[in-house]
Symmetry: C2
Subunit: 197 residues, 2 copies
Amino acid sequence: MEFRQLKTFRVVAELTSFTRAAEQLHLAQSSVSAQIRGLEEELQVMLFDRIGRRVLLTDAGRKLYDYARRIEGITDELRSEVAGERYARGSLTIRMPETLATVYMVPVIEEFNREYPDVRLIFINCADRQLARELNAGRIDLAFLMTDELQMQDVKVVMLKSEELVLAAAPTHLLASRRSLELLDLTGQTILYPKTD
Amino acid sequence: MEFRQLKTFRVVAELTSFTRAAEQLHLAQSSVSAQIRGLEEELQVMLFDRIGRRVLLTDAGRKLYDYARRIEGITDELRSEVAGERYARGSLTIRMPETLATVYMVPVIEEFNREYPDVRLIFINCADRQLARELNAGRIDLAFLMTDELQMQDVKVVMLKSEELVLAAAPTHLLASRRSLELLDLTGQTILYPKTD
DNA sequence: CGTTATAAATCGTTTGTAACGATTAATAAA
DNA sequence: TTTATTAATCGTTACAAACGATTTATAACG
């Protein structure tokens, strides 16, 4: 039995749903299933009655839920009591293109604020060529950018997502009537596209 | 932070030794080091003062120790309260050579009894050729035997230990004066040696 | 009563973390 | 100084968690 499982269990119990618990915990639904199954096997007792696609606590589950709450309460206390204070507070300065921010960041910021209310987030528009220098100088902590590949010394780069590029044209445009296009068809056309810089 | 780390921390704190804690927990010393380091990193605080080869709790460590005790107490309560009772009780029937038992089993049995007081251990002398049948029939649960290799269908076999074979002779024996021996020197000699059967 | 949508379980694969053994560095004891 | 002991470190291996895809079951709907 581990804290991880206990937390997962508590969330499932509160949401009465494996799927929604998985979303909230940023896990796949199958992982939530596996964790609950692990608990049930270790304790040799069913924690949920699976009635159709509804999930509800058994007697044992209700007992465990109370314990889980209690234990999580104590560990929270422990953290603030024992931890060298600075447990996620301060500020993060993030560089990212405005378009990215508006599309992706709203729910992220909401959740981040819930989890770390004492951390201030500072966004600076666009990521530019001096990224590495800015990161190393400590002027910024993180940067998101749109590009197809990137390697930088002393900077950790992770690919997060890839997106399909879609061509949009005015209905009156010469190419608008075409069913499909090759990249070559764009030769000579004026196109507008997102750039990292 | 996981239960595993917390337990390891508690044992280290009680024995004031990484090495002895590792023994008690059946872990390598390096694993204990890693777990404590993990805790210290997560909580951003040193838990032990490493003064030379002596280890003693810091203030934060003392606080954490109290919490660890408390949390372990609660989880024990949880187990007996929630678990479907039958948490390790019953009996285990084990076949093993008497010589092995006397050499290795005494401390094992002591510890096992401490951990699982409700499990009865039944030892039967020697492991014989019908091992597989006995295991599958459920007459025995486990068997230890001395041999150099073994494969059995439907039976899980694990190599636990290998031992050096030492030749012992009477001081008056012809070979006793020799500094070293080849296996061939034993040709024609009557030798006495352990057998699995 | 079939169809669709939704939810959990299951399966095979990939990934990440823990444990290990061996070695090093440090220090206490001989 | 030498030896013994202890924790830290490093590279490897093995195990367990997470994942995505699929299956199974059932509730909701036309």
